[in-house]
C-alpha cells in the first residue's frame, strides 16, 4: 500500500469525486422541465389518441366503414357499425374505440386506405371514470384539433 493509496483512503477520495460531479450539475444547465407548466411537444410521428378525419370544407368523414382498422387492430378495440345510406352507399353509424384495450401500435392509421383515422398528439387523457375511455364518433371527430402532422406523408 503506497502513500497514494493511504491518502486516497484517508481523504474519502471517491466521495469527493462523486460529490464534484453532483456539484457540477448543481450549477450547470437543467435538463428537466416542470411538466404541467412547461411541455415538450411530441414529435411528428407520435402515436397518441386516435381521431377521425373529416373534410374541412364539407365536414363529411373520410371513413367509408370498410372495417380494415377494426380487422388489423391487434387488441380488437375498434367497433364499427354501418348501414346502407339514402343514396345506396355505405354509411358509418357508430365508430367506437375502447381505450382500455388500445395499445397505441398505430396499425389502424397505417392500414387505412383513405387516411380517415390518424394518431394525434393527445396523450393527456387520465380520468377517474372508466367510461370516459370508451371514445365515440363525436369525440374522435372533435379530437382532430390535436392532429399535429400532415397526413399522407409516408
Amino acid at each position: 500500500m503506497g502513500l497514494k493509496d493511504i491518502l486516497k483512503s484517508s481523504t474519502f477520495y471517491e466521495i469527493l469525486q462523486g460529490m464534484s460531479v453532483t456539484g457540477s450539475y448543481f450549477v450547470g444547465e437543467k435538463v428537466t422541465v416542470e411538466y404541467p407548466k412547461e411541455q415538450i411537444p411530441p414529435f411528428e410521428r407520435f402515436r397518441g389518441v386516435q381521431c377521425l378525419i373529416s373534410d374541412p370544407e364539407t365536414g363529411e368523414l373520410n371513413c367509408d366503414a370498410c372495417h380494415i382498422c377494426a380487422t388489423i387492430c391487434p387488441s380488437n378495440c375498434i367497433f364499427i357499425e354501418s348501414s346502407e345510406g339514402p343514396d345506396g352507399t355505405k354509411q358509418l353509424d357508430s365508430f367506437v374505440i375502447d381505450l382500455t384495450r388500445c395499445i397505441f401500435c398505430g396499425f389502424c392509421e397505417e392500414a387505412c386506405p383513405r387516411a380517415a383515422i390518424a394518431m394525434t398528439s393527445a396523450f393527456e387523457f387520465c380520468t377517474y371514470n372508466k367510461n370516459d375511455l370508451i371514445l365515440t364518433k363525436d369525440w374522435l371527430v372533435e379530437n382532430q384539433k390535436n392532429l399535429h402532422k400532415e397526413l399522407r406523408k409516408r
Binding site: E14, V31, R47, C105, G106, P113, R154
Partner: protein
C-alpha cells in the same frame, strides 16, 4: 469455444484463471454447512430490488444463501397462446411487451423468424435501419441496467444520470417511430417507415456525444472503492455453469466465451460493419459490468458506421405482394396496392408449411423464435425462447454460497426483465 488468447484486446493476464475461478466458487459453496438450521427469507414479488415481479425464497445459513426457490409467472399474459389466434402481422405489436426495455429487438427477432419462414428478402436499407434500431435498443437497455445496477449497490444519483442520457436515445425512438417504449417499428419484410428528415444528423450527434458520457460513468464507478469491493469476485458463474443453465449474452461473454450471434451468425447488416465482441474473463459481477460498458461503446461505433454507409432504397420489401404490406403512399394512389393492403389485413400473409427457428442477439442474451406453420396465415404454434427465463432459472446456482446482501447485486448483474420471462 475460444480461449482468451484469441481476442485481440485480451488483457495480458486476467485476474483469475478459469481453474482459480472454479476453485473460488467451490470454496464459497463449501462454506455452507449441512447440519445447521436454515432461516427462510422471501424476497419479492413486490421487492423493489428484484427488478419486477420475481419472487425468490432463499434459505439462509447465517448470512450465506444455501438454497433458492425462484418463482416466476406473476406477469404471465399468454402471449404465445395469443399468437395462435392472430395473423403474423397482427402479432407483431405484442412482441413489444416481452422485453419492454428493448422492444425493437423483440420486434426484430420475430420479424427475422417470420421472414425466414416465408423466405422473403429484406431490402438493404431496411437491414441497416434494423441494425441501427437494435443498437439503439442495446444502448437504452444497458443504460437503464447500469443505473439500476449501481443503485442496487446504494448510489442514488447515478440512476438519474443514466436516465438523463437514456432520454437522448428515447427521443430518437420517438422521432423515428412515434413511441418511446413500445416501438412496434419492425414489419414483416422491412420496417414501418423510413427515417424522418433530420433524424440521421440527430442520431449522429447523439452517438458522437454518448462515448464522452460513458467515460464520465466509468470515472464515477470504476474508481469507486465501494463498487469495486462489492462487485469484484462476487457472483462468480463459470463458463460450464453458463452453458449448463443456458445463460447467454453479456453474462456468458463475461466468462471469456466469444459467443455473439451478431458475429457468429450475422443477420441484418452486422456482416457489413466492423465491431469487436466484448469479452471479459473473470465471470464475476464486475466483469459483467465491464462487458456491458464495452458493448455500449461498440454500439455507438456500429450506429455511426451504419449512418455513414446507409444505402438508398426501399424500407420495406415491395416485391413480395402476398406477404408484406405496401407502402402507405402507394395505397393512396395505386389500386393494386390497395387490394394488397386489404388482402394482407383480411386474409393475412401467404405462408408455406414448415417449422423455423431463428435466434438473434438481443441486449439481454439470445432471443429465439420458433414457429410451426400449417400453411394458414396464423401460426399453429409459436414459441419464444427468451433470455430472461433462463437467467431466472439459473438463480439457485448463481446465489448458492453467496452472502444475502450480495444477492440483490448479483441478481441485477444478469439483467432481467420479467415481462420477458413470463410472456
Amino acid at each position: 469455444m475460444a480461449g482468451h488468447e484469441s481476442h485481440p484486446t485480451a488483457p495480458p493476464k486476467p485476474r483469475a484463471t478459469p481453474e482459480e475461478m472454479r476453485e473460488r466458487k467451490r470454496l464459497s459453496r463449501q462454506r455452507v454447512s449441512d447440519d445447521s438450521e436454515f432461516i427462510t427469507v422471501s424476497m419479492g414479488p413486490q421487492h423493489p430490488s428484484t427488478h419486477g415481479v420475481y419472487q425468490a425464497v432463499v434459505d439462509l445459513d447465517g448470512e450465506i444463501v444455501v438454497n433458492t426457490r425462484p418463482s416466476i409467472g406473476n406477469l404471465h399474459r399468454g402471449v404465445e397462446k395469443l399468437a395462435e389466434v392472430k395473423s403474423y402481422h397482427r402479432f407483431l405489436p405484442l412482441t413489444d411487451r416481452l422485453d419492454y426495455i428493448s422492444s425493437f429487438a423483440m420486434n426484430h427477432a420475430y420479424a427475422e423468424a417470420v421472414e425466414k419462414l416465408m423466405d422473403i428478402e429484406v431490402p438493404r436499407r431496411a437491414r441497416y435501419i434494423r441494425t441501427i434500431g437494435d443498437e439503439l435498443c442495446r444502448l437504452s437497455n444497458h443504460l437503464l441496467w447500469l443505473g439500476v445496477h449501481v443503485m442496487d449497490f446504494g448510489a442514488q444519483t447515478f440512476f438519474l444520470i443514466c436516465f438523463r442520457d437514456r432520454e437522448y436515445v428515447l427521443d430518437l425512438w420517438e422521432m423515428l417511430c412515434g413511441a418511446r417504449l413500445t416501438h412496434s417499428y419492425a414489419r414483416i419484410g422491412g420496417v414501418a417507415a423510413d427515417l424522418p428528415d433530420g433524424w440521421v444528423e440527430k442520431c449522429r450527434a447523439a452517438m458522437e456525444f454518448m462515448p464522452r458520457r460513458l467515460a464520465e460513468y466509468q470515472r464515477l464507478v470504476e474508481k469507486n472503492r465501494i463498487f469495486l469491493k462489492r462487485t469484484q469476485g462476487i457472483g462468480i458463474f463459470t463458463q460450464e455453469d453458463c452453458v449448463a443453465w443456458r445463460v447467454t449474452g453479456p453474462s456468458l461473454r463475461a466468462t471469456g466465451m466469444e459467443r455473439d450471434l451478431r458475429k457468429t451468425e450475422p443477420y441484418a447488416a452486422y456482416d457489413e460493419v466492423d465491431f469487436d465482441v466484448a469479452v471479459e474473463y473473470d465471470a464475476d459481477v464486475y466483469s459483467r459490468y465491464l462487458v456491458r460498458m464495452k458493448e455500449m461503446y461498440e454500439s455507438c461505433k456500429i450506429i455511426l458506421q451504419c449512418l455513414d454507409q446507409l444505402p438508398e432504397g426501399d424500407y420495406i420489401n415491395q416485391d413480395a405482394a402476398s406477404q408484406t404490406f405496401p407502402r402507405k403512399k402507394r395505397v393512396m394512389r395505386d389500386s393494386a396496392a390497395m387490394v394488397q393492403d386489404f388482402m394482407q389485413t383480411f386474409r393475412g400473409p401467404k405462408v408455406p408449411k414448415g417449422e423455423v427457428y431463428k435466434a438473434i442477439e438481443v441486449p439481454k442474451g439470445e432471443m429465439g423464435v420458433y414457429i410451426v406453420s400449417d400453411g394458414t396465415s396464423i401460426p399453429q404454434r409459436l414459441h419464444l425462447v427468451t433470455p430472461t427465463f433462463y437467467h431466472c432459472q439459473a438463480t439457485p446456482a448463481l446465489f448458492e454460497g453467496e452472502m444475502i446482501s450480495d444477492v440483490v447485486g448479483i441478481f441485477g448483474s444478469v439483467d432481467i426483465v420479467l415481462g420477458d420471462s413470463d410472456r
